[in-house]
Symmetry: C4
Subunit: 279 residues, 4 copies
């Protein structure tokens, strides 16, 4: 059938290394155009950039169509988050820009085209996936950290609001100030200011730094290290073509061995007894 | 009996998922009220907040009562640190506020209500427990660090007190300055100031930074990573329903195997001899 | 033959511990001369330094010649990157200095002589090699980080260029500013400035810090820790003179054992049957 | 004998828990006196402190004598670095203070008395020992880092000395400036200053930061983590009373088992053959 052969043809193009390299080249060009626009450039160059920009948009539509038609299972195509992302990026690019609001959105979308690099190169996709995998594990750490931030921000804005309105005015500003303190950014300036009124307020800052910067950062490190190790082991196991051997499995093997030896032992005893009986 | 059925009834409410979700919702509302109070709000909204505040206090008393009556073993209830914490938070909330001192305490207690989130959600409680578990292991590191801080602060205030009274005036101020240096917060400003008088004083700062920031921070990381790993292994073991297998246990298994084979060997030898004798 | 004996002789010199120590001494002298030149020194001392400098250049030519003639396989000599590095350093040193441009290059080359220390001492070479080994693994992390930097720099220069030209003027300056933010260097000054115009611009900074400083730094730590562990295990294996034992190998051993016991079991059964038959 | 009984008596005092606690109490008192002296105190209190100070010195002499007389092997006493340290601290304390130079030394020695805490409490001693154990492993990392610092300092003072004399004047000042850059302390101020003259000088700073702050800090973390793990395993092994089991040992055990089974197999074959022959 015509449609089938077209699908097959497009699937072949899609898997073609040269086509993939060309797509990456176009994405890089797109990224360079975005960069170029931030410089002060002549009008002539600007019009060239605009022409190139439309060519890239057109190319992305063609490329996405090829990938969509080349896909055997049309439904599965949109189950893949990256395909949805690519489609949105392409669709928003073709919306005619009327007012300045939309123009800004159009420019932003063009910036996010660079992220298509991640969707094309499998290694980058895997890296981001492993990072996202770590997020649920980090979820409760972030929740606990948010609670600590909230409590310190509430206390901070309760006591220090009248000292420095711009730093401790309300709870959201106080949380931003606390984030700054967590990154050690001029935190002593903030502290010395409040120590004039409350000489013991250094305990507020030191306990906060201990709670967040030290303990929690270490926890994050611990979790990320663990996730990376797991990912690493999983990959090794895949390379081996079987599940990695564990100590528990080894013990099971040894116990199976013992059972067989016991069996052997009883046989041997029986054989010995049989032999000795006639005597 | 009436009391028993009440206890059973309350125990059922306590374990109810919807009730738990409602408690969490109330705690979040309580946290939002605390945050709202830090903004400049109209008197009408303020009175609404005060009414909500009293409702939350009342709800917490009811909730705590349900949990207390629902508990089978009344003594064990107060052995749990989180229950004691919850009780104190609720009791202090109901104390009538007379003077401004007490008002401040009342406001502080309302802030700490947010911590009830940790006592309700088991994952957060586990996270905090594993952090507290790491503390005794960190105890001696903190002690050693305190000694280093004390020695450097004594030397610092001995030499630099006449250079900058606000930074090195006495040993406690000097320790705060050293903590600041450890966080790399404008530490060069402190150093350049003393280098004018003592050109070699950079050795004081550099050795201090090496001792504390590098060596000790790494130790802390090492210990926290280890504790997290242990916690992780313990949890895996619990999931498996038995203790995790170790290399030493495997060796014991293999040696038991060897003993049995030896037994078999001697039997077999005996059997061989028995058989060969008659010939 | 004459050439052979010369090669043998030079190979012996090359491997001589005293010769090696003398080369290290000369490199250190060379490094001290470079350091000495940065101080304001008298003309007499300067001429001594220049004489020493020429002596060191001459010595390096002799030393390189000895190593080259002493090498059995002349081709393999230039396959070693460190030998190529040493040759370039020596050759550029002897180029007659005509104009100031060349003089600067000559001075720079003399500075890089210090790196010869790494090429001479095996432990330092191994350390640098293990660092370079980690680079390909870090390649994709760096690529992903570059993409994040590029996107944030494009957005940053799009919105903030008119606020502060020197920080967000074009995409390359914006990337430098973002690097500064990643190191937490006065990042709040940059943020507070843009928050005056865009009050929500703190989200830009906070998400950027979360993406880069926390997640990625931890990934880098994870990868480096892993590479170091692998290197460590490889070295242990080399010390043992055999490959390190793995759990999978142990399982294979146990399964081989089981096969033999089964063999034994069938023999024993046979023997038992044989014995029982006559009865 | 009299001497023997004295030695035995003193050895008993030394091992006495109460005596140890009293020594720790005296050291803490000594530390508090040092701290107290940094405050502005009345003359009356000062004379009390001086009296206490002499009492502590006297007590330390007595305590050291007890420990020395109590020691069975007098030679081994001074082989222990901590004993030598204690002796020096005590001896310098009793030197009569004549001029201000000596007075300063006397005060410094009193500060270092706090370190006696480490020599008394075994856990702190173990912690410091494990830190010192990591040093040789870090030796080459420090050497490589010093080479990088030296090269960058030489290049920095070559190019930037005329821009800012106080930061890049000579190679030693340049190294201090580079250390500051490594700690991210106002490093952009240093960079922006040189970028006015050399617009590409950001490459100098960025490559330096990549080389030192990222790569090497991670190496240090890696090594310290490893050393801590080793220490931890060693301690576990000591608790078990035997060397920890390794995978290689397990394999040896399994291979020994295999040899025995083979032996058994050949016996069994023999027995089978013996039995089958008569038929």
């Amino acid at each position: 059938m015509n449609s089938d052969s077209l699908q097959y043809q497009f699937n072949r193009i899609r898997s073609n290394k040269a086509f993939e390299a060309f797509v990456i080249f176009i994405i890089i060009t797109s990224a360079l155009l975005i960069g170029a626009k931030t410089y002060k450039i002549s009008d002539a160059l600007m019009s060239v950039i605009l022409w190139l920009d439309w060519f890239i948009t057109a190319f992305f539509i063609v490329e996405l169509s090829i990938r969509f038609i080349g896909e055997e299972n049309k439904r599965r195509f949109f189950l893949n988050g990256w395909n949805v992302f690519d489609t949105i990026i392409v669709l928003v690019s073709v919306i005619p820009i009327d007012n300045s609001e939309m123009a800004l959105l159009g420019r932003l979308v063009r910036v996010f085209r660079v992220l298509r690099m991640v969707s094309i190169i499998p290694e980058l996709r895997m890296l981001l996936d492993s990072l996202l995998k770590a997020l649920p594990q980090l979820g409760y750490v972030v929740a606990l950290m948010f609670i600590i931030f909230y409590i310190y921000a509430a206390i901070g804005s309760m006591f220090f609001a009248q000292i420095n309105e711009t730093l401790w005015g309300d709870i959201s500003i106080a949380m931003l100030t606390l984030f700054r303190i967590m990154t050690f950014e001029d935190w002593t300036d903030v502290m010395y200011e409040t120590m004039v009124v409350y000489p013991l307020s250094w305990t507020f800052y030191l306990t906060f730094i201990f709670f967040t910067a030290f303990a929690f950062l270490n926890m994050v490190i611990g979790i990320v290290v663990r996730v990376l190790d797991e990912e690493n082991e999983r990959m090794k196991a895949e390379e081996l073509g079987h599940e990695p051997c564990t100590l528990d499995k080894l013990r099971d093997e040894i116990q199976a061995l013992k059972a067989e030896i016991r069996q052997l032992n009883s046989n041997s005893d029986y054989s010995t007894n049989k032999n000795s009986k006639p005597e």
